[in-house]
Amino acid sequence: MSAGFLTVAAGGPPARSPLAEGSHRGAELEERDGWMVVASYGDAEGESRARREAVGWADLSHLPKAELSGAGTWIGSPAEGLATPRGDGWSCPLTPRRALLVGDTGAPPEGATLDLTSSLGAISIVGPEARETIARFCALDTRAAVMPPFGFRPGSIARTPGYLLRAGEEAFLLIFGAAYGAYMWEVVADAGSRLGGRPVGAAALTPALPAPRQEVTTDA
């Protein structure tokens, strides 16, 4: 018997984001890899514009997340504060013996993994006002000189323990305890909407969150 009950099972009822109380409001949903995912909030163009010109935020809680523990090359060194691209995801070092895997990394060559997809919520924050939005609820230093793209920081996010991953110049991923999902969505929406932003669906988001394998480019 393993801890299989931790994992969202294929073939079961569609999985629901821990942010759904907030993020599914007014959303057009579609099923993707067993999860109900926000396709758009009915205005893909406006959403695109918001994240290009101000800031957009999207519920990405369905991104696979796992803890990798033990030894191994995938864990890397936490001292540099950088995530390492692995497959279509990142390996984010926490300690010399533990890392957080985010996205479709594929199976690590060594070490033991534990699925944390359901344990952690995720919000992507994208756009020229992304840093300012994050500064409204998070004290981590996100200046590019300190935290360049691929920078990874465990830290306090809106007074709860979480992680911040910089996917690109203007693209960040907040990762936090799933039980705080509704709260976190409210906090991000409050901060972002004051800066001219809006929630966005997957359609408006995709070009902004560079897959790690691609070249990281500055957002227009």
Partner: protein, 947 residues
Amino acid sequence: MSRLAATPGERIDRSRPLGFSFDGKPVTGYEGDTIVSALYADGRRVFSRSFKYHRPRGELCGCGQCANSLVDVDGSPGVRACGEPARAGMTVTHLNAWPSLEHDVMSATDRFGGRFTQVGFYYKTFIRPRRLWPVYEKVLRRAAGLGRLRERQDEREWETEYRRRHCDVLVIGGGVAGLAAAVRAAELGADVVLCDEDVEPGGALLFEGGQERARELADQARAAGVEVLTRAAAIGTFDDLVPVVQGSVLHQVRAARTIVAAGAIQQPLVFGDNDLPGIMLSGGARRLGALYGVAPGKAAVVATVDDRGLDDALALVAMGVEVRAVADLRPEVPGGPAARLREAGVEVLGGLTPVRGHGRRALEAVTVARPRGGGERRIDCDLLAVSAGAAPALSLALQGGARAAYDGARAAFRLTDLPAGMFAAGAAAGFDDRESAERSGLLAGAEAAASLGRHHPRLREEQVRLGGERPEPLVATPPAWAGEGGKAFVDLDEDVTVKDVKQAVAEGFESLELSKRYTTVTMGPSQGRFSQLPSARLIAAETGLDLETVGLTTARPPWTSVPLGVLAGRPFEAAKRSPVHARHRELGASVRWAGDWMRAYDYGDAEAETRAVHEAAGIIDVSTLGKLIVRGPEAGELLDRLYPNRISNLAPGRIRYGVLLTDAARITDDGTICRLDEETFYVTTTSSGAGAVEQWFTWWLADWGLDATVTDVTQGLAAINVAGPRVREVLARVTDLDVGKEAFPYLDAKQAKVGGVECLLLRIGFVGELGYEIHCAGAHGQALWDALADAGAELGVRPFGLEPQRVLRLEKQHIIVGQDTDSESTPYVAAMPWIVKLDKEQEFIGRWALEQRRGEAPPLELVGFRCADGKVPAEGSVVLGDDGTPAGEVTSARFSAKVDAVIGMARVPNELAADGARISISDGGQRIEAVVTKEPFFDPEGEVLRG
């Protein structure tokens, strides 16, 4: 509305008039005015009544620093009218006078108060008779305070934004020194933030004819990438954090280096009736004219101790004010400005200082004289412009750990011993005049940048140059006070007079810190800006100590008044919610806080919910339970050392109950441990204990260095408990798993699909009825809940909340750690000696303390009880001992319909911990009789639970 001729530096836009109201009367001003400048132009001179004596007060500083013009704007009291920009349509009212500013009945305290208003009068007067204090308090509360807060505000009326800003260099103060520092540091590549309280940076340059230089520097700063925050006040230094308030935004600035360039605050003089409207700081008078085109008076006398006052006198002459005399405390008034004044026909009187103001409602004349008497002269005037030297604004630096030393030549304190990472420029560093202040700014900027590895090529050269060029200003030290008669105020905010401070010293409050607390001097809204130096001087004079020894007090944050709304933050509460939370709301649950979580207390009918569990079945969301995965080759060893019972011999698929102990054998948490496979354990904890247990496990793991990993998956898993006689019928509809007694015995765990969802089923029962705790990925939690609810609907299954659960578990005498146990409870006290396995080979946490207590009767023991008369004792009620004294405590009590009695648990003295013992409970004086019942009230043999 009368204004001076327009000047290039003025801030008002005469093409854009605006209207607002003051005490119900319409006022017209211009865009760019402050409330005070518009009212001044309108001829008004009195803006408030003083705190204690209700004396009329006029403008003092003209720049938002003093407390003389506190008003209420649109329902918000405590606004400084001399710094607050006038806005069209605003409603401004005075604060501290009734029925009106002109006629204030409380001003009787000024004329007749006498011995009732002496220093310390609260403590001396209102202590006898003690029983009258509530009456005194009512009267005093009405009389004291400035302004009234509305009792209710509209929801989210105050919208605060917090903004964290990391930077290399924070420059506090945007005068010439601060601007120069910011420009230099930014040009060397540093990331710089500059904050200034005024609507534009420039400081004194803006009203002393340097506005072009100010704008040039500001442009340079912005071009170099400096983030310039205006109307932004740094309110304190908290180690590495400087909060900067800008309207409704609170910038939390963390800078690697801080440059304090907060300038200097012109000081008032202390003499009889020095608070009359019309007596103001010369810089304030000059600002009114230069920035707002308002004549500060018609006929003026200027009183000064330094050249700044002479410059200001010249400026007054230039704006057309008739300056009737300048009283300069320096016997020999030197050089240029004095000569120019004389050329302009102004009489400059050396060696004189004001000794008495005259006038009933406002200044009508002033008497000047030699400070120790003689040479008296009375001069009619409606403006007395005062310059008693400049006190550098050091508080923010002092809060950060700097020290201040008295500089006799400048009659002012200046910063010494700056803490690492802090630099000073301008007046704070002792550079008062414009040129040296600018150079000191450039140097501080270069030094701050250099300390960050960004070097200026000629840093050394500049250091040398500046060091050699500190000009020594010629300043006379103002007297601690001058003249006799009238009230001589040391502190206008708090109405503290020379007499009060003298009396405090005479009563033994000789130190500045003590006399501050006794007289409240410097404790008013202006944070001692205008009273700290005068009160220190006065104490020095009274005690015979020098000023260096008397020292300064450090003003506490906030250095500038902050609306409470700014500190209160955004109205979001970091609540944890279960994945099923939305359903509970739809079902009409009453949702309440339980620790960090929002939980369903009941669904409207706790008693019916309890009954449903006994008669059919109930489902309860227990997703809040702490859940840990402990894995690795030494996971079993780790748990053996953490629990007093044996864990490593647990077979995969089996469950055991466990309590966690400290090394003093006190119970800190409880839960179940389920072995999933050889190297993987699934541990549950109490809902509130998850975080603490994770910390506890990882702490010992770090110390012992075992090969195991602990991962908190609390928030990743939903958990739903289904319990009741019909539970197997419910489950049969949603799972293929055989949940029968033989296939799935008590304390077994199995994985299977329930309602299509991959689940872990634990056969345990907190509520006592036959039950299964079903855990699954949180993302499927709502689906699992729905499947169980739908399957059970026809069978009479109901959702039940926390309250029914509490009744049900009490029927079984299942404890809640933290409620039925306290920080003293060992397993022996908690009546679970069976859980302690002292024959275990591991030295588990708590073992030694348990060994030392083995065989001893615990002083208290947790027992169940049943009340005879139907009264429910409050939790925390006292259990009385034989002699009627408190001997124990009720930990839980409820009415149980199933048992048809009030039941509970209590910690009672050992001698009462016997089945059938009678105990007396005192609940707030009410006596309740109860009988100890050590067996569970429901299913004492556990046949139902195991069935």
